[in-house]
Amino acid sequence: MHFARLRIAGFKSFVEPTELLIEPGTTGIVGPNGCGKSNLVEALRWVMGETSAKRMRGAEMDDVIFNGTSDRPSRNLAEVSLLLDNADRSAPPSFNEGDQVEVVRRIERTAGSRYLINGRDVRLRDVQMFFADAASGANSTAIVSQGQVGAIINAKPQQRRGLLEEAA
């Protein structure tokens, strides 16, 4: 199973619908301070089932919804969709029918998140289990957020072992 495409709308500074194609090998993401690179990473963590607003620099989950600029009003809805290529049929059993799997997460201000896999409403737990099988849940070692290297360095030995336990 491969990660193929990320679509973002209304999530943090990506108010306009945006599409990122994820191709084999290495894709560099560049741009000035504050332009939205880490927001892109957080959109991916979020659609994969991130539950901590704090881990996405907010105070509450609604903080991921575009909150406006001096020229635009805020939005009430944010949506991120992740498309996975499943030609090798390696997806978890209940979603292994087709060539593709699409995972969608939507949040509406004060109304919480909804989750869909291939258009079907599912619970947060289903999304987290789906990615846990693929060894790439929202907090797996495979997503190293900005400052995480520093956190490992500064961690007390007990905190650092939390890292090792994700491998077991």
């Binding site: 500074s13 332009c35 090792l164």
Partner: protein, 162 residues
């Protein structure tokens, strides 16, 4: 439980030692359990000596050496069960040019060893020049992000100009 933890620890430790020697061009390092006899309770310490230097706990190393050692630890865990996607947000920030080059060599090797797709956020012109493709994030309108494809040849000219 305890057996599995120890087996997993051995696996990560092996990868860590190899990666350290690769990224540091020599020297040696290993992981150690501390604070408890019980591997399920103990904390994780990193003992490291860059080439020619004395073995000591990670704390006395330089900022860049610590970052490189932490990168080795992250990839040691990664290698025990490579995920289909690996996202790295500015992990090369504290590294000097020569270490950024070694970091890029390692990524290349991981690409050939696994089928993992890498998304690498960076400010380093050297890292940029070694990516298979580049996307730029811009804010032409203030506070509103847009994704644009960046021509690698143009990025190469930017690199030479900076």
């Amino acid at each position: 439980g305890r057996e599995r933890m120890l087996a997993s620890f051995e696996q990560v430790n092996k990868h860590f030692q190899d990666l350290f020697m690769t990224l540091f061009g020599g020297g040696r390092a290993h992981l150690a359990f501390v604070d408890s006899e019980d591997p399920l309770e103990a904390g994780l310490e990193v003992m490291a000596s860059p080439p020619g230097k004395k073995l000591q706990s990670m704390s006395l190393l330089s900022g860049g050496e610590k970052a490189l050692a932490a990168i080795c630890l992250l990839f040691a865990v990664f290698l025990t069960n490579p995920a289909p996607i690996c996202v790295l947000d500015e992990v090369d920030a504290p590294l000097d040019e020569s270490n950024v080059g070694r970091f890029c060599d390692l990524i290349q090797e991981l690409v050939s060893m696994t089928s993992t797709r890498f998304l690498i956020i960076t400010h380093s012109s050297l890292t940029m020049s070694r990516m298979d493709r580049l996307f730029g994030v811009t804010m032409a309108e203030r506070g509103v992000s847009q994704l644009v494809s960046v021509d690698l040849a143009r990025a190469e000219r930017l690199r030479e100009a900076s």
